[in-house]
Amino acid sequence: MKNKILALIFIIISIFVFFIAQKNNDYLQLNICDVGQGDGAIIRSAGGKLIVVDGGPDRKILDCIEELSVFKAKTIDYMILTHPHKDHVAGLVELLERYDVGIVIMAYEESYDNDEYEVFREKLEDINMEWVMSGEVFEIEEGLRLEFVWPIYGYSAKNVNDESLVTRIVYKNSCFLLTGDAGSDFEKYYAENFSDCDGLKVGHHGSKFATSKYFLEVVRPKIAVISSGENTYGHPSGEVLSRLSQSGANIFRTNEGTVKIVSSGLEWYIADTK
């Protein structure tokens, strides 16, 4: 009898914990993940929706996404690929192996000679796809929308980095700009057509060919996150770090750990950096 009561208590507590763990937050979480030399960001909306922007070069993104919920989520609602380089797409292939995906959003339609990108495309056969360009907006839930600001229609560059899909995450009155590896063409266009944004994922892992002074003068980020790991390219460059400091942004780097940011809708603040 005693054992049965203990078992019953155990089951009730388990079910209680199970349901508590499913509860949604009233704020938006954004993890700019420590994926090594690459890009990977995950957003968990206040309503519990999961949005992934790039996946990094390997499986590190899996740790990052699992940190966002007590029990493993089964569905990623939106998956965004900025461009088909391995350091952005490989982790998405790993995610496609483990999650159901609602919609995959891309700007880049052409084939690209990269094993991981080819596998990624093969895995998209039964998944809804959206091809987007600058000006398109996705309303995710009340107060949260994704605005795509680059590339513009007809734009073509020699380097696919410059064709990166750039997304503004707008949550109520706060804004965060995820720039992929886009360079000076995008920055010029943004400076001419858009306004400030509190948060910035610094372009192209902190390469000196992105994050220009005029771009920073328009964006005026309070938080700037550089996503880079061990590399031979010199990322992030000293020039970019200096420009960011001069702009007044607080700089965070993923090589020191995943940068965890939250927003209640007014502004972004750093929750943790490990």
Partner: protein
Amino acid sequence: MGKFWFVILILLLVAMFRSTVLVEQKYWPSDLVIDEELKVNNYPEFSKNVQYFDTDYGRLVTDRWPKFEKGEILLVKGEYLVEKEAIWFPEIDSISKPTGIQGFLNAIRNSISYKINHYFGHQSSELILGMLIGQNDLTPDLSEQLKRSGVIHVVVVSGQNLTMIFAFLALWGRYTRRKVFLMISVMILSVYVFLVGMDPPVVRAYLMILVVILAELLGRKYSSVQALVLTAVVMVAYNPLYIGEVSFRLSFLASLGVLVGIKVTTLLNMAQKGFLKYLVEVYITSFFAWLMTAPVIIISFGSLSVVAPIVNLAVLWLVPIIMVGGTIFMLVPDFLSSIFSYFLQILVNGFLVVVKEFAKIDIDIYEANSNISLYIVIFSYILIPTLIKLFLKIK
């Protein structure tokens, strides 16, 4: 000399004779250009961002993606590098996917992998899939933690996990009718062998265990240990090269450990009852299986964590329960899967928490590659005779 030992002696003589015929080393003396259709001979394994598998030309190492399948025919253009002892990152085009039984097996493994990956976090699923179908796809972090805490062997297909299931079943078998036990054991073990792909190491372990089960069932007239020794020696007589294989040694020693463990639990005649008694028995049996295999693990996996005995003691009993739980999880319908996965997750988390905490301890793991012999010999020569003496005493 009894009849049994006479038969063993004859078989060993046969083995010695055959070894002179069979000894062959398959390697290429110099770099070799390859432009051929090759078959994937085993289930591909993964390490970091690399995938590797065996072909008729030896090991092939390539990128993690795309993943290839056992039995798949590939057009391979590249070089076999002597320095790497492998066909090193060649150009590969898939010619045809396997059909028939291998195609069916691949489909089952893929569906298991899909379901486990969907319901469990990646480290949990890597662990469960390693235990359940011998899938070697650990992230570097988890692999390092398992090595540091000395339990990497639970996710390596060697027949040892088969022995773990056997230990689990054998304990349960004592409380049930023999025929029922035989049928269910053979069924469960067969399903496992089927899932891990009927590779020679697993099939050999399977045969050893079947013989032991049969001996147990036939009663006191047959000694389980004698049956096990006889099976092993017949296998060695058939192919003396088996004796050099890690998986063969692990299967044999783990089975022997299980038998010792079962005898010990019988001898202890514990006062506990019900589930607690059952847990203690699984615990003791698993521990003896580990103890017997420890020297081989040290030599084969190159290192021994100093915390290994404690961690093994703490988590090894979970392995057969997770394996059986994982199998049941695969069989339950989807609407029950979430709830079932929750309970299985608790067990897996328990395993991972212990492994991770012990892996953090900042003590160098003992590297077995240099001056191994002294430590190994001392360890083995104290351990194994003690166990055999213990076994003989209680027989």
